[in-house]
């Protein structure tokens, strides 16, 4: 029984590199150091959409995905919900949040109430705008479509984990002419959001948006650590390609786990 399996060394190296960078950058962020994160075009679109909706006095719809609280995307969607709620608190525009899983209900209520409080308008918080519709995927989509068609929100925001129902929501919203912005890491649903929405946060951009908004040290630290590792990967890719072109494959041998 070998003590340490040598063929698995590159895996150990990758995990150790990312782990050390993450811890190092999080501690630096915790000591108050601020890091640069580029502008996320999707978030500017959110500000613009919320602004337009408040001018027209029409409601805003925020759908935090249909997955449960154990999906990291649902938890990150709460951060964006808090940001939007803080923006909306100053105006009378209603913020409607349909919910698909019972355990997400308290999270959404807590996030929105806290955001209204931080914005100095706790009284504007309306509890029955956070509505549990149904656990079943298509019943939930039908419920949200009902809200879109009846209450005609001016801005529809879809942030979180979506599945086959994304197409139904985006199409109905498109028909009512609302500004639509979506964000999800579920790659298979992005085509439908991209064609029907005005702007889409694609995969990692959705996670970067939460770091950009919250400036929370763990999120910012992780984002920067991943960026640094990406630089290493780009260097390895370029070096590997040049070497392979001259038939020198020591890099390929090193990384090849077969």
């Amino acid at each position: 029984m070998k003590l340490f399996d040598p063929s698995r060394f590159p895996i150990f190296l990758a995990i150790a590199l990312l782990g050390i960078l993450t811890v190092w950058l999080i501690t630096r962020a915790r000591r108050g150091e601020s890091f640069f994160i580029r502008k996320i075009a999707g978030l500017e679109a959110v500000e613009e959409a919320v602004g337009r909706a408040t001018e027209m006095g029409k409601p805003i719809l925020y759908v935090p995905g249909i997955d449960d609280a154990n999906n990291i995307q649902t938890i990150y969607s709460m951060i964006i919900l808090g940001y939007v709620a803080k923006m909306v608190a100053r105006y009378e525009t209603p913020l409607i949040v349909p919910i698909a899983k019972a355990f997400v209900m308290p999270l959404a209520e807590e996030t929105t109430r806290q955001a209204y409080l931080d914005a100095g308008h706790p009284d504007a918080y309306n509890r029955n705008n956070i509505r549990y519709l149904s656990d079943e995927q298509f019943a939930f989509a039908a419920g949200v479509n009902g809200i879109i068609l009846r209450e005609r929100p001016a801005a529809n925001l879809y942030m979180g984990s979506f599945f086959a129902e994304s197409l139904l929501l985006a199409e109905t919203g498109f028909q009512t002419g609302a500004i639509q912005i979506a964000g999800t890491a579920n790659i298979h649903q992005l085509p439908f959001f991209v064609v029907a929405c005005d702007y889409t946060l694609i995969g990692e951009e959705f996670f970067a948006a939460t770091a950009y908004l919250s400036r929370e040290e763990r999120l910012v630290g992780t984002l920067k650590a991943i960026d640094y590792v990406k630089i290493v990967i780009i260097v390895v890719l370029v070096a590997g390609t040049l070497l392979a072109s001259v038939h020198v494959n020591f890099l390929h041998e090193f990384l090849n786990l077969e």
Partner: protein
């Protein structure tokens, strides 16, 4: 209201009707079109052809009724070919609603080659635990599945204690090939991450068309030795083992439906831009 405006604000139920006709007509009229094999489907075919009589494969049938339309034809074609080649099969599922589908497929194909349950094929049933189950199967099948789908202890199934050249089947590596039929999570991606690289077991996958594009990087990197994508994949495989089934018939109807969708996209945009030029269109 001009014609183009009326078209643009068409009630969606007319579009539903157009789709219903586009899908039904080829079915009733038995339209048949030859199917061309894609490179990744050929890889799937070659890997099964390489198997010898008596080899054992692990069949991970990870799908539920939502995926039945695309994956039943694939599973039936694969079982037909494996039984024909006298390859033995250890089958199980990680999807709660998957066991009856595998059972029905076994019942449809096994009698054709008078294969005996427990000797030529085994159904271990469903186990919850997703990636955990996969890693543990790599170490001990009996620990995960103490009994099979019918409650029989594994050791009283001849296949489980006398696989290839008499060796008992304790873990995944005692089988020659991992054949995965997959609709989503847990599925092909998790099998590649947790089993293919870690236990170095060759693997081929038949998956729903929705997830096929995401698995092409695994084919190019050699982690997946073959891939069937959706009903088209099933039809290609049926064609290659010349056992035309629902895949081939379905593809004719699929063709007309795809053309309809393309026309709808083109028409939708033409009408939209035409109306905008007349300055009448909605946003």
């Amino acid at each position: 209201m001009s014609l183009t405006q009326r078209i643009e604000s068409l009630d969606r139920r007319w579009i539903f009707l157009v789709m219903l006709v586009a899908m039904s007509f080829p079915l009733i009229v038995h339209m048949k079109l030859p199917v061309r094999a894609s490179p990744e489907a050929r890889g799937f075919y070659e890997n099964i052809e390489k198997l010898q009589a008596g080899d054992v494969v692990y069949l991970a049938s990870d799908y539920d009724p939502g995926g039945k339309a695309e994956l039943d034809p694939m599973l039936l074609a694969v079982l037909d070919r494996l039984f024909q080649k006298n390859v033995k099969i250890v089958g199980a599922t990680l999807w709660p609603a998957g066991s009856p589908l595998l059972e029905r497929a076994y019942k449809a194909e096994a009698p054709k080659y008078n294969k005996v349950y427990g000797v030529d094929y085994v159904h271990l049933g469903f186990k919850e635990g997703k990636e955990n189950v996969m890693v543990q199967l790599g170490k001990s099948i009996r620990e995960v599945f103490p009994v099979d789908y019918y409650g029989t202890p594994l050791d009283s199934l001849p296949l489980m204690h006398s696989g290839l050249n008499g060796k008992p089947i304790d873990k995944l590596n005692d089988t020659k090939l991992l054949v995965n039929i997959s609709i989503g999570y847990p599925g092909t991606k998790e099998w590649v991450q947790q089993v293919r690289s870690r236990f170095n077991l060759p693997m081929i996958s038949g998956c729903a068309a929705v997830s096929a594009p995401e698995y092409f990087p695994y084919v190019q990197s050699g982690q997946l030795s073959g891939l069937l994508g959706g009903l088209a994949g099933a039809a290609e495989y049926e064609e290659m083992i010349d056992r035309p089934g629902w895949g081939v018939t379905g593809m004719a109807a699929q063709s007309l439906a795809h053309v309809t969708i393309v026309l709808l996209i083109v028409l939708g945009n033409f009408v939209y831009f035409w109306n905008r030029r007349q300055g009448v269109s909605r946003p």
